[in-house]
């Protein structure tokens, strides 16, 4: 781990629908002594591709810029955020793959980064969850997960978020594990569900956060608690077509949903990385 004082970003990275939001809530609760959190104001972070923050800090309307102009400026946006932020750790949610802009600069500057927590989920469960969330069928989603040109957001969210390239599911994993030029702590969603306090403790240690209240944080951010809050007050990060952001959160649900053909397609497209991560 880099402990330089300039290196204060902790990037919480995942392909969409892989447990990123839950992890953020666990960390938010942990950093507040295991207290309950408000899902609409967890109080620790901002999504990393936020136009409002860009416009405010750069004093420029990102809506007047082209994607490539925004992308050339993004690394310096994070430098500006780091200069303005006083605390020891800046946590940001990331869905981009690790990538470089047209000048060859990494989008997430390693010299500003304490490291990345990469949360990965069995791509067969991702396909089910993401298809529901995006309101498309699973066949279409399995194709998208193999499309190197895949980019989010696709709809009206473009008005508030920048372009974020995902690439293929496998390519996303490999870009961060092998090509991000920063320390990466890999967490499997399935392990986080099975041993949340233990995994959260390891994540906290990686980020330099005290893990002392890990058990309390896990209790405060149970799935049914989040779902109940979403039922009662809604969730502002719900941007897709589904009616709920917190849907099932189970591991292995794909077994009763995917057809043999769909499962085989994912295995064919992503088998090498699935094997590396213990999913095959």
């Amino acid at each position: 781990l880099s402990d330089s004082s300039a290196a204060r970003f902790g990037w919480l990275v995942s392909y969409p629908r892989s447990g990123n939001t839950w992890l953020r809530f666990l960390l938010a609760s942990l950093m507040h002594g295991g207290q309950p959190i408000d899902i609409n104001a967890p109080g620790i972070d901002t999504p990393v591709a936020n136009r409002r923050e860009f416009d405010e800090l750069f004093c420029m309307d990102s809506s007047l810029l082209t994607d490539s102009e925004i992308e050339l400026a993004r690394p310096s946006l994070y430098r500006l955020i780091a200069n303005r932020f006083r605390g020891p750790l800046i946590l940001r949610k990331v869905h981009d793959r690790s990538w470089r802009n047209a000048e060859g600069k990494l989008m997430f500057p390693p010299e500003l980064s304490r490291g990345a927590v990469y949360i990965v989920r069995d791509p067969r469960d991702v396909a089910v969850s993401y298809a529901y969330y995006a309101g498309i069928d699973i066949d279409e989603m399995t194709l998208r997960m193999g499309d190197a040109a895949m980019v989010i957001p696709t709809g009206r969210e473009q008005a508030i978020q920048f372009r974020q390239p995902l690439g293929t599911w496998s390519g996303h994993v490999l870009s961060w594990l092998d090509d991000s030029a920063m320390p990466v702590h890999l967490v499997r969603y399935e392990d986080l569900i099975a041993q949340p306090a233990g995994e959260l403790t390891k994540i906290a240690c990686f980020l330099g956060v005290s893990p002392a209240r890990a058990h309390a944080a896990v209790a405060a951010v149970r799935f049914d608690v989040l779902r109940a809050q979403e039922d009662e007050r809604g969730f502002r990060e719900l941007a897709g077509a589904g009616t709920h952001f917190f849907r099932q959160g189970r591991a292995g649900a794909w077994r009763s949903v995917l057809s043999a053909v769909q499962a085989e397609r994912l295995r064919k497209d992503h088998g090498a990385v699935m094997a590396r991560l213990g999913y095959l």
């Binding site: 136009r51 405010e56 750069f58 420029m60 309307d61 007047l64 810029l65 082209t66 050339l72 009206r156």
Partner: protein
């Protein structure tokens, strides 16, 4: 294109003499000029602008502010814009930049810098006029200001300005909205909803999802030229915020909460603060909130509820008036 005499335009309440022809704001007919004044408030010229200011006190990749209050706006593929003293704009357009691109920056960051230099409150708002009063729709980027303005124009309102709405005060302290750019900037999905996909809609940058078009003229063709837009008493400020639910929620905001956080209401507040205007901007916002009802519209994503939102707004104005 007539590049001979400079033209006079009405630019966010000021008389702008421009070497560049501008399509998105109203020109002042030559016959009227003498009656108004021969003196321009602001002069726009073409000329070389250097990549950095002589003594910048603050700089980002796109904007610098000089110790003397000058503001430089630079985007390599579009050009450089130097705004000085609240009365001078120098445009150094990139060779490849189309006129519509230059205007997009003039009716955005350049106008914002100029209004801050001149001490005028620039609301970050799209503004329409209805029943003799102005409605300012405020909100940060992507909140749907232009979309809701377009919907209100469909219901008979008239667009006064897109994205930036200058506010001036009468001697009695009554706030008035000043007309600005009537070039509405809409994304492709919004243009489809409003059926404005014609060739008069031009991309604001090459390949950009947002296109700009003059909405009022296309929408309500009249005999002869339309009546010029004039400042209108501000009737309501409507703040657009996101919602977690499928239905819009509309409520009156009272007291200081109506105008905070300031950066959601003031266009490029940071530049105003760098120019030493932070306190004055705060006081001006409080004066607005003191005289004018401020509402919050929690706006769901998408277009399905646009009709419901315009009903709520027009209903509230009737109730208030």
């Amino acid at each position: 294109m007539n590049s001979g005499l400079p033209r006079i335009y009405s630019f966010y309440g000021f008389r702008l003499e421009s070497e560049l022809p501008l399509a998105l704001i109203s020109s002042i007919p030559s016959g009227d000029r003498e009656q108004i004044s021969l003196t321009a408030d602001i002069v726009l010229v073409r000329g070389e602008v250097l990549a950095e200011l002589p003594d910048p006190v603050w700089t980002t990749p796109f904007v610098s502010v000089d110790r003397d209050g000058s503001v430089l706006i630079r985007v390599a593929a579009a050009g450089r814009f130097l705004v000085r003293g609240g009365n001078s704009i120098t445009v150094d357009a990139a060779p490849s930049a189309a006129p519509v691109e230059i205007e997009a920056f003039l009716m955005g960051p350049v106008a914002g810098a100029l209004l801050h230099q001149r001490g005028t409150l620039p609301l970050h708002a799209s503004c329409v006029e209805t029943g003799g009063a102005a409605i300012a729709l405020t909100g940060s980027v992507g909140r749907g200001k232009s979309t809701l303005a377009a919907a209100l124009v469909r219901r008979g309102a008239r667009l006064m300005s897109d994205d930036i709405c200058p506010i001036i005060f009468s001697d009695g302290g009554v706030p008035f909205a000043v007309p600005g750019s009537t070039g509405l900037r809409l994304r492709s999905d919004t243009r489809k909803v409003f059926g404005c996909d014609g060739p008069e809609w031009l991309p604001i940058r090459p390949g950009h999802a947002k296109h700009v078009g003059r909405w009022n003229e296309g929408e309500a063709p009249e005999q002869g030229s339309p009546k010029p837009l004039v400042p209108r008493r501000l009737g309501a400020v409507i703040r657009l915020t996101p919602t977690n639910f499928a239905d819009p929620a509309f409520r009156r905001l009272r007291g200081p909460s109506g105008v905070s956080p300031m950066q959601d209401l003031v266009y490029r507040l940071r530049i105003g603060r760098l120019l030493g205007r932070g306190e004055r901007l705060f006081r001006d916002l409080m004066r607005v909130a003191d005289k004018i009802p401020v509402f919050e519209m929690q706006r769901p994503n998408g277009f399905e509820k646009i009709g419901q939102m315009t009903d709520l707004i027009l209903g509230a104005l009737e109730g208030d008036g």
